[in-house]
């Protein structure tokens, strides 16, 4: 479904990604972790072309992200993305946040789009808030709406870029619950996160990145059982302490 | 429509003595610069006094300065110019009135009106900048000065204003550039500054594109030059070890 081949990226002289190669199969859940500044957020943003890369290629559902001929907006409309800071559109109500791209990008009818949005809002347990504005919701609630907004586009895969790291601790679980449910339903997911509990519960594979490179790419059980690299071991021991 | 391009027009004789059209532009520029500088002196002095007044404790002085600012900011510059040129001279005592209207060269009386008008108009804006600059300083500065036994005038003169002016160099620069551009209203009461000379050249020669292009270039170059100069000044007067509060 998503295949990342020898991707490298520079900011000027500074190399942020070094020869990254990995694959996410259909229905697979892959967790990407690593210390801050390791390039994991940059890598996931390359998958839907939000960040350009200079060498290598990424193929999503048979389409090359790096090719200048690719219709990026069209590709992005088929891949959902959830951001660290939610990025709901503050000037639009929750209903309109859910419906906007369905109408403008997919060309759905307004009532159809709203109906679909409300159904998904119900799924993330927030149907009571449909008429509110993003600023009136808690962080956890906003992030659940953001997930619903991405799902409303009927994505073939979902990208999560640190979806819980801007949340207060007591709100993390409500978001993770939605993600776990999604994984159980067979959604293809690539998640940048430090939530190792989530990784243990639903991930098929775990990728560990450091200094722009993929250091480890292993099955979940292998990763947690016996991580090979020293860096991954140090990282894990630090993270699992809390 | 037919048009005769001639970029050499500025070196043609105007038919008056040995003058060429370029001389008109130079004379006009002279008036423009004189108006701007004279107006700026008034604006800076009065504006500073008003700005200080706005930050003083008490009620009456800040209020007076605030009313001044509102009046001069909310009436169009041209209306203010008409008031100074058409109305105020009539209100002067008899002797002064005859002197202003008859003894003075018309260009001089127009010059005086425009300078007063530009000075008082711009003072309102300078006032707001000075106030912002003073209020941007930490309250501790005033307290420290009081604690040293300084009196209020000394606190402003020695402590607050020297710091405030450094902060507000960029906005003051743009106010000066505004007075420079605004001085073109003098053309509307017959003073032959740069814009009026440009118009006259355009009408005399029918080479309006060339005339207006030259005027535009003069304004543009002086503006850019002054801006760069003031950036240099700002760097020169920067206090070592202090990060400028007013942007980079």
């Amino acid at each position: 479904m998503i295949s990342i081949k020898n991707v490298s990226k520079w900011y000027g002289d500074f190399k942020v990604l070094t020869d990254c190669t990995t694959e996410v199969q259909k229905g697979e859940v892959v967790v990407v972790c690593g210390p801050s500044g390791s390039g994991k957020s940059t890598l996931i943003k390359c998958v839907n072309g939000l960040e350009p890369f200079q060498s290598g290629d990424i193929i999503v559902d048979g389409i090359s992200v790096g090719s200048p001929k690719t219709d990026l907006p069209k590709l992005r409309s088929r891949v959902g993305m959830v951001f660290q800071h939610f990025e709901l559109f503050p000037h639009l109500s929750i209903t309109d946040n859910l419906a906007l791209a369905q109408i403008k990008v997919l060309g759905r009818k307004e009532d159809e789009a709203k109906k679909k949005g409300l159904a998904l809002l119900d799924r993330v347990g927030l149907s009571a808030h449909a008429a509110k504005f993003p600023g009136q919701l808690s962080g956890g609630q906003q992030q659940r709406v953001a997930i619903a907004r991405a799902l409303a586009m009927d994505p073939i895969a979902m990208l999560f870029d640190e979806p819980t790291s801007a949340l207060d601790p007591e709100m993390i679980n409500e978001v993770l619950d939605v993600m776990v449910q999604l994984a159980h339903e067979g959604m293809t997911m690539m998640c940048v996160t430090h939530e190792m509990g989530f990784a243990r519960k639903v991930a098929n594979r775990v990728i560990f990145m450091d200094q722009g490179a993929i250091v480890e790419d292993a099955n979940k059980d292998d990763f947690f059982g016996s991580p090979r690299s020293e860096r991954a071991q140090t990282f894990l021991s630090k993270i699992l302490q809390h | 429509m037919h048009y005769n391009w001639d970029w050499g027009v500025f070196f043609h004789s105007t038919g008056i003595g040995s003058e060429i059209y370029l001389d008109w532009f130079i004379k006009g520029l002279g008036w423009t610069i004189a108006l701007s500088l004279a107006g700026w002196v008034i604006a800076l002095l009065l504006g500073t006094v008003l700005g200080v007044m706005r930050t003083l404790p008490g009620k009456i002085l800040p209020k007076i300065a605030a009313v001044y600012v509102e009046i001069f900011r909310n009436i169009p510059l041209l209306v203010q110019l008409f008031v100074w040129y058409f109305i105020v001279p009539d209100l002067l005592p008899q002797g002064l009135q005859t002197w202003f209207k008859q003894d003075l060269n018309p260009a001089t009386s127009a010059f005086i009106s425009v300078v007063i008008c530009l000075g008082l108009f711009t003072a309102a804006r300078v006032c707001e900048q000075v106030r912002t600059g003073i209020q941007a300083l930490p309250k501790g500065q005033t307290n420290a000065a009081y604690a040293l036994g300084l009196r209020v005038p000394q606190i402003y003169k020695e402590v607050l204003l020297p710091q405030a002016f450094r902060i507000i160099i960029p906005p003051l620069t743009s106010e000066f550039l505004n007075i420079f551009k605004n001085s073109s209203v003098a053309s509307l009461i017959g003073l032959m500054e740069l814009l009026a000379q440009t118009k006259q050249t355009a009408e005399f020669t029918a080479n309006l594109f060339e005339a207006f292009t030259l005027a535009t270039i003069i304004y543009f170059v002086l503006n850019m030059g002054l801006m760069l100069f003031m950036r240099w000044v700002e760097k020169r007067v920067r206090v070592p070890g202090l990060i400028a509060l007013g942007g980079k």
Binding site: R76, L88, H91, L100 | P76, V79, N182, Y219
Partner: protein, 221 residues
């Protein structure tokens, strides 16, 4: 002072005010529209486009409005003549309107640019991630938020524009100030008429800026 002649002159003053307001409204619409395009150009990744827009802004910000008004009054009929091949005079109103639009666009551009830059990059990413094009992202997500933030500044600039419309006196257009001046000249009461005009400008500008300040407070809370 005797104000009876002011009452007689009221119809003339009113039609002057109508012209001022018509010029103002059209210049705001045109200026904001052009200013927004300029702001998008200045922020674009295309080097040529952003340099050109930057030059446009610096250029108009460094020359006097009165110069632009006079310039356009002389020159716009020529250019229209060349473009259309006719000698049709377009009249002072339209040459002034074009002058105000193009001049104010430089000032509106800087306000809009700051407004756009105040919206986080994450919003752009989120819109792109949903498959929106550049134009959809700007129209549906970024500009609606930016305009909300910068409304007070746009209004303040428009109040300055309202005062500046009086400069059309230079080309003899009968706006409010010029109607007052000529009305006063005719009856020999220039003083009263000019003071009255000043008072009207003051009330409108002061009232409007008081409202804008109140709006600004409400938006920042």
């Amino acid at each position: 002072m005797d104000f009876s002649s002011l009452i007689t002159a009221m119809p003339g003053l009113l039609s002057g005010m109508m012209l001022t307001l018509k010029l103002l409204v059209l210049a705001i619409i045109g200026g904001v529209a052009l200013g927004t395009l300029l702001a998008l150009a200045r922020l674009s990744n295309n080097k040529l486009l952003s340099t050109l827009a930057g030059f446009y802004v610096n250029y108009f910000r460094s020359i006097p409005l009165l110069l632009v008004i006079t310039w356009f009054y002389f020159v716009v009929p020529f250019i229209i003549g060349w473009l259309t091949g006719t000698n049709e005079p377009i009249g002072a109103f339209y040459s002034c309107l074009v002058a105000f639009m193009m001049f104010e666009a430089a000032y509106y551009c800087e306000i809009v640019r700051a407004g756009i830059q105040s919206i986080s990059k994450g919003q752009v990413n989120a819109a792109y991630a949903l498959g929106m094009s550049y134009s959809q992202t700007m129209r549906l997500v970024i500009l609606p938020q930016a305009f909300r933030k910068m409304t007070p500044l746009l209004l303040q600039q428009s109040i300055i524009l309202f005062q500046d419309t009086s400069l059309v006196y230079a080309v003899g257009l009968m706006d409010f100030l010029n109607s007052a001046r000529s009305g006063g000249d005719i009856v020999g009461e220039l003083h009263q008429f000019l003071l009255f005009a000043g008072l009207v400008y003051f009330i409108i500008s002061f009232g409007a800026s008081t409202l804008v300040k109140r709006l600004q407070k409400r938006l920042t809370v």
